[in-house]
Amino acid sequence: MVGEGYLGLVVFGIVSVVIGVALLIVNRLLAPRIPDPMEGYPYECGVPLYDKSSWLSIDQKYYLLGLLLVLFDLEAAFVFPWAVVYKEIAKINAGFIFTEMFLFLTILIVGYIYAWKKGALKWQ
């Protein structure tokens, strides 16, 4: 059964969550609580706050690279299975499996070069 190996992963995850939460709770219980009027003030190097919230719009310089990341990660998802079987298929028919990925990667490298030339990889 394939799923059984993952039982360990799930158990480990739950244990680590429990230990992490326990640490936070222990800290909460042990720690002294000395209220101070300014203790909840956000740290701004001692200068009074300019505006209360920082959840404002920030000009994101990497919007386009974020899109490209999604595309390249998808591409990696295709390359990974290829890499796994490459060694075994190469014994039978090396030219076939190599050409296949060569085509795939070449098409994508064309896209990559296009992105580079268009300046998509730059800080905008």
Partner: protein, 176 residues
């Protein structure tokens, strides 16, 4: 009760719950968090069904790349805009969502009826592992869709660059 049945029900319950969270959380960051949770739970579903490669790639691509992209987008949206709920979008989104649901239901029911085990019997699968089975199938039987996928990715990349570049937008304004 079998372990995989328990796992299936708990993963799917959590996935549905966090999917509801994605829709109904008013704070946009909480929506993203529950989106991550949904995606991880769905990958857990893949794992319980024995599709290891798909599950792992699900985490890698969806939970990392796509969510990071969402975080980038959200950081450009002010908080007050993220909280606004406009009911008029529901008019459009409800029927479209229902249509998508119907399509998915059709595909999955049809797929369950039409699929066969193919060359990989369960014994073979246990021996060589799910990953190699998927890869072998992908690079022999489904070779053409695989190469077409690269073309689709190329088109998507070019489209993204043309849409996303800031200079391009400026040019269009000048033309008008």
């Amino acid at each position: 009760m079998d372990l995989s049945v328990i796992a299936f029900w708990s993963f799917s319950t959590l996935a549905v719950l966090s999917a509801i969270g994605v829709v109904f959380f008013k704070n946009i960051i909480y929506s993203v968090l529950s989106l991550i949770s949904t995606l991880i739970m769905v990958s857990g579903l893949f794992f319980t069904l024995g599709a290891e490669l798909v599950g792992a790639l699900q985490i890698l691509i969806y939970a990392v790349a796509i969510v990071v992209f969402y975080v980038l987008v959200i950081s450009t949206v002010p908080e007050y805009k993220g909280k606004a709920i406009d009911p008029k979008y529901m008019l459009l989104s409800l029927p479209v969502g229902f249509l998508l649901f119907l399509e998915l239901a059709y595909v999955s029911v049809y797929g369950a009826w039409a699929s066969n085990t193919g060359i990989f019997k369960p014994e073979v699968l246990n021996e060589i592992g799910n990953v190699k089975a998927v890869s072998t199938i992908l690079f022999t039987k489904f070779l053409f869709p695989f190469e077409v996928a690269s073309l689709i990715l190329l088109v998507a990349m070019i489209g993204a660059i043309i849409l996303g570049r800031k200079e391009q937008v400026m040019d269009e304004e000048e033309v008008k």
